[in-house]
Symmetry: C2
Subunit: 295 residues, 2 copies
């Protein structure tokens, strides 16, 4: 039984040989009784609604950042030689690129994921209680960190994980200062209102490769160029401890990092409890739990 | 007969298993009767001397840029399938990365290389007449352009081409607007005063690989980190038609370009006629003429 028989797919992707831009049919800020009782101001909510992100520079105090960074370094050491599926390596070396499910496996990051200062903002935007869909540390070391090509997270979560609608967001916490030149997060503001369908079917167990280097679920150059021409590119620079909240469907990526300065961050995805996963819209097996929490 | 018997090598590199930082023993601005009679101001010369570069934004008029860009596009088309050694392709695709010797093979770029507005500035800095050591177009297309890792050009020109001393500079002319996010040129200001020796011997015919991806003549991470900690990183942003003059020994590189916006430039190297090439300091055969003019 596929989703198609029970849930109408309003965001079909990887089903047609030609890419299209579909309009978003879901709200960005889910306005209800939570909207006016959270920590974000009306201006911040409007900015998020219009641009698809909020860059909260210097959100965490430097002592908090220091604690997170120490724990991140500890995990790097511990996992340097580890043969765990949660540890993803760089495409051209054995260096650790990401460690998944840190909110599940590590006490410091579990507490971080439940920090009320974060959760209250996120619940205010998504208009409901939320749960952790995914978490990871991205190391992006100096000298050798490679680019993350443009993508909408939602496209993958929808097709490969069965996330029905756009009611999720990512929370990226920078653990180093982000400069223009050390591969910072690039966002196309406003692109969260357009869903670019991707071309081609998803291979089985695609995630084993895609976490190192994405090849399916990649938007086409023509539509990407249109989006950037229309909206431009915003760069998320700021001191360590900044928090960027960004919509699940905003087009984003980052360039490589040849600078000596690392650009590590903690990346946590929150999904609304009203938007729990169904079977993947690809019709294939869902990705494992360390990538997408199914509970 | 090697150079070592006739020219004392003041910048030995790729000869020791350990990298070192040697002080520059050559001037940056060669001060003589030309110094006060050229187009550059005293302030510009001082800036160049101290930082190792000058970013002359909007140097060429937009009609001039348009003509150069048309010619560059024509060369791209003409060389897309060409099997010429002057055409270098991207490391991970057959896309054209650079075309060498455009000042020799193309009338528009020959004229550009002799433009008195450029040559007068360069002769003012180098304190003598100059000639073209190398020229190329770097395409760095949108979406797929890869990084150029950190390097001092002089290290390669010295070891592989036999350029005796630091009395040369590069002139990069941007043919597209350079933003922070489309892989602009990154320079370490002040690094031109330090010569980082590289480790390892040079393989025969190394240039055939190194123009696609550099592996030898690469500075070590420890000394690079020291330089950046001391000097920082300056980013060469600006409109199309900007000219960046930079010293032959300044540490530079660029990140990848996932943005849709190309970052093509013309790159011309001028050497003093007082600094003509000798036999390569590697003791090996010199690189071919389309990479290093020997006359």
């Amino acid at each position: 039984m596929t989703n198609q028989s029970i849930v109408h797919d309003v965001y079909p992707s990887r089903v047609s040989p030609k890419a299209r831009i579909l309009p978003r049919v879901d709200p960005v800020v889910y306005r209800n009784e939570r909207t006016n009782s959270g920590p974000l101001t009306t201006e911040q909510l409007s900015f998020y609604e219009q641009n698809g992100y909020l860059n909260l520079t210097g959100f965490f105090a430097s002592e908090e950042v220091q604690e997170l960074r120490s724990e991140m370094d500890r995990l790097w050491e511990k996992n340097a030689q580890a043969n765990r599926k949660e540890v993803i390596r760089e495409p051209e070396s054995q260096e650790v690129r990401s460690i998944f499910a840190v909110h599940r496996d590590n006490e410091v990051f579990r507490q971080l994921s439940q920090d009320p200062r974060l959760v209250q903002m996120i619940e205010q935007i998504l208009g409901s209680e939320v749960y952790l869909h995914q978490s990871r540390i991205n190391y992006k070391k100096g000298f050798t960190g490679k680019e993350f090509y443009w993508h909408s997270d939602f496209e993958t979560w929808h097709v490969e994980d069965g996330m029905p609608r756009m009611r999720a967001l990512s929370c990226s916490i920078t653990l180093e200062e982000n400069f223009h030149y050390n591969g910072p997060l690039l966002l196309v503001p406003g692109s969260h209102q357009s869903f670019i369908t991707c071309v081609g079917e998803t291979p089985e167990d695609h995630y084993e490769q895609s976490l190192r280097r994405q090849e399916y679920g990649v938007p086409d150059q023509e539509n990407l160029a249109k989006l950037v021409e229309k909206h431009g590119i915003d760069t998320m620079t700021g001191p360590a401890g900044s928090v960027v909240l960004f919509d699940c469907n905003i087009m984003h990526g980052s360039n490589s990092n040849i600078s000596p300065l690392p650009r590590s961050n903690v990346f946590m995805v929150y999904n609304s409890v009203e938007n729990k996963l169904v079977a993947p819209f690809s019709g294939q097996q869902p990705r494992p739990d360390y990538i997408a929490t199914r509970e």
